[in-house]
Symmetry: C2
Subunit: 346 residues, 2 copies
């Protein structure tokens, strides 16, 4: 995180602290020496002109010592603060970000979750709720969560076969992540109370997030909203904010009959607000592309939305999609009962 | 980076430090009080049975003080070390990782560079050399580099139109990133000496990297090598390592006539070794898919390769590719002279 410049500054500062500690110790040694001289000579030759002088010297030394100690303490406090501010990832004074991420097994899963974890690892007070579309927790997901050293909750919720997309079906024909997101919501309802400060965000495992959006969404009062890049056939889908800072409309190119024509990556809900609506969840019985809008309708009105990302003028989230890797030789190997992995992990 | 547990530990430790500081100050106050009583009473009533007792008390207090100070210092040192180890991103004792990344303008460029920067921001002693296929530096790339607070070098090298892939041509028909990677190599040759410790890596802007690979490649003596996931039609392309820890072959599914059938993301070269081969660079006149192999042939022999990633049994790098976003409505807007961006940045 440090540029060379700030690094040099921090080194210099530690050097200073070391010098201060050295001089502190020097003062201590002098003090002990003075005291020793005093004791040694209490019955013999008196080097001090009088007892007052001796005490005066001792007092001066103590004063100087106290001053040095004060400086050292201030210096150390400054250094600690410097490290903390850019390093400490848990601050009890800040609301927690609960990111709910549905995931499923596929060749690029480890790659996608790895890079996503690298982004999340930069965010203070981050709690990753990851829900596998599976009957049991996989090694891939467990590994990534453990290695990230993040706070996390690892759950499973299997989508019934009827609701699963068939291999060649386009990805928008069946609602995805419904049971997984609902499992994440249920976990929050079971494990958090309205007194817990936090914000809930649906972060899919293939999207791209700039760190900025997390520090903005953290302060959501009820429901916040912002632009999403590369989605809905546009470079950006965004809320339109009027001069009084209220959302007055959206720029989507389709489904403008939706009250909230916005992607799952474009909004966050405060935890207390979510908990005060115990029945709100996702459903399989929603018109295609209307999942987000139907969900938000139960939680807010357009005029109550809190626009973020500089009044919705910045893109901090992108709906990226990863190409399915070309595995033509792997399939050939598979037909021969072989694999390029050969006991390696994916 | 911290889990709740280590956070609690760190808080507890600071609490302790605070208590220690408090008791330290208490001792100081007592000491000053004792001295004051001593001075006050030097001619009057003597509370101490003798002058020896007075000095003994003072000496004990000083000893206790010194001990407290020592503890405080140790405690502060420990806390600082804790913060430094997981936070400081520049360590003069470690070799530098120079990542050479060619990039070009496209709708997903900001998203891809953003998530890549989030990975690199975790790596100590990282120097990002990013070369745009353009005549002048773009705001997109500049923004990301500045915001990352990383060490970086920002260059441009335009690919001549004859060497550029046409819109509908498959991406493997023309060698890509040739002039950009060469510009990166030239910068290193112009700005670094064989005394500088470092390693050179070609990190494309759409691949996925686990943090682990950087800490392993950092210690490359000449040329190191490791598996790459999701490339060459396989789940993994990897060097085969024999029982004496030497690379004895490769598992690629095509082009096995290449001496080094491996992807650009699968090797690193130590900086002094690169600088000792001043003419080695990439070329447009190389058989399709042979760029990496021809490059490595000039730098090493198969038996000298240093296998990393646990003897090439782990995948730490994946050749991911991002789908071109669907922009059908954007194109409609464009034909009307409009854009969804409306003065926003991409």
């Amino acid at each position: 995180m440090y540029s060379t410049t700030s690094h040099k500054w921090s080194l210099a500062s530690q050097d200073m602290a070391f010098k201060r500690k050295l001089s502190l110790y020097a003062v201590l040694v002098i003090l002990v020496f003075l005291w020793f001289v005093g004791v040694k000579n209490r019955g013999g030759i008196t080097y001090f002109s009088s007892e007052e002088d001796r005490y005066k010297n001792m007092r001066d030394a103590l004063d100087a010592y106290e001053m040095e100690l004060k400086f050292t303490r201030e210096d150390m406090k400054r250094t600690l603060k410097l490290f903390k501010s850019s390093c400490d990832k848990w601050n009890p004074d800040l609301p927690v970000i609960y990111a709910i991420t549905p995931t499923y097994e596929r060749p690029a899963q480890r790659a996608e979750l790895t890079r996503l974890s690298h982004t999340f690892m930069h965010v203070t007070n981050f709690h990753w709720i990851i829900i596998e579309d599976a009957t049991k927790k996989s090694d891939v997901v467990t590994d990534i969560l453990v290695q990230s050293k993040m706070n996390y909750t690892h759950l499973c919720a299997l989508t019934p076969p009827d609701y699963k997309r068939k291999p060649k079906e386009p990805n928008w024909t069946k609602p995805r992540g419904v049971l997984q997101r609902n499992a994440g919501l249920q976990w929050l309802r079971d494990n958090r109370t309205p007194e817990d400060r936090g914000v809930v965000y649906f972060a899919d495992d293939d999207n791209t997030y700039s760190i900025h959006i997390f520090n903005e969404m953290r302060w959501t009062k009820k429901v916040s909203i912002w632009p999403v890049g590369l989605v809905g056939g546009l470079l950006v889908e965004k809320p339109i904010v009027n001069s009084s800072g209220k959302v007055s409309g959206f720029n989507s190119a389709w489904g403008m009959d939706r009250p909230f024509p916005i992607d799952m990556a474009g909004f966050a809900i405060s935890l207390p607000h979510l908990l005060s609506h115990p029945d709100v969840k996702f459903s399989f019985k929603v018109k295609m592309g209307h999942q987000e809008s139907v969900f938000l309708e139960k939680l807010t009105k357009r005029e109550d939305l809190e626009p973020l990302a500089d009044n919705c003028t910045k893109i901090y989230v992108w709906h990226t999609r990863t190409e399915e890797p070309n595995l033509k030789f792997e399939q050939k190997l598979k037909s021969q009962g072989k694999s390029s992995l050969d006991n390696m992990k994916v």
